[in-house]
Symmetry: C2
Subunit: 195 residues, 2 copies
């Protein structure tokens, strides 16, 4: 149920069409909550049916239309309630550590393959997070700039600090995964040499 709150977090900055939202999504909140457009459009309809947002049909060219959504008072209240309520942690489902715990059941080469891919995956994630941190420092993320524009200047620092905090956490986690997999690679070598 977090998707709708991720969408609300973006829409609170200003009205957007499903299409624009989806574009913004992948550049901001999409780093922490992925959603394909095939999930976003229906969710927006449901949120409208639940009274959290309202859509307005706009003409576009001769026959085209686009539906622009804005957050209602009810939607704003729902967002605040969610922000102040305990998070529900999903049950653990961790394919990488599942596999790591049973690496003795495969060949050293397959184990190395797995670990190298793990490094590559998290290096790419890390790059994204560091890029985002850079955008935060240099105010070069358009979404963030729009957010600051509608925020009282006294709260700018708060807003930026929490963004930094979130992305630094993600970056550190990525570094942890990379370091772990590298230790794993050394372990595979050591065990192969010993066996």
């Amino acid at each position: 149920m977090s998707l709708r709150y991720a969408l609300l977090a973006i829409l609170r900055v200003g009205p957007l069409s499903g299409y624009d939202l989806q574009k913004q999504f992948s550049q901001s909140v999409g780093h922490v909550w992925h959603a394909p457009d095939s999930q976003i459009y229906p969710e927006l309809r449901k949120m409208e049916a639940d009274g959290l947002i309202e859509g307005e049909e706009q003409v576009r060219g001769a026959r085209g239309t686009r539906r622009v959504y804005h957050v209602t008072a009810e939607g704003d209240a729902a967002y605040r309630t969610w922000m102040a309520s305990p998070l529900d942690y999903q049950r653990v489902r961790d394919p990488a550590h599942l596999r790591a715990a049973y690496l003795e059941n495969t060949t050293p080469d397959a184990a190395r393959d797995f670990l190298n891919r793990h490094v590559a995956y998290w290096e790419s994630e890390l790059e994204q997070f560091e890029g985002e941190l850079n955008h935060i420092e240099h105010l070069s993320n358009p979404m963030l700039v729009r957010r600051l524009e509608i925020t009282p200047p006294a709260e700018h620092e708060r807003t930026l600090a929490y963004k930094r905090f979130a992305y630094e956490g993600l970056a550190e986690r990525a570094r942890g995964e990379i370091a772990w997999a590298r230790r794993g690679l050394k372990l595979v070598d050591r065990l192969e040499a010993a066996g």
Copy 2:
């Protein structure tokens, strides 16, 4: 699709009924892949239909029965294939970092609440992982002992080393989450003092 491989990883040690499997599951692989019994029983049936395992009805008492499953040659091959194939990483869906990135939208107290819960959650996870590491060191996990019994002694070290590796990775991640949330708590204080 990892559930069936988690189940296979346990069944490869020896035949088990759905009930026993489910008990073992929560004490071993359940630390990395949660599954409720309402998911395990049907999955076992599906795996049998797919030829990965075979069930044998056993009498129990006067009228009771239990179905004991063992891995088929096909199931063993499927498991090995999975172990040697690239992992599919799920798309990111991280409610905690989603919320962290927008903490300016709630009160300092609600932010502290969230972070304190995060610490508590990961401390409890960390305790579990450290407990499991202890079981590995002292060979006090019955499942692990059974696994070593069917493993050639020359490979015992490998088996133990990978278990250790996996759980140390989990423990470190937990420690990272705790440290991150504690930094967050300090940040909330600092921002409140400044604002």
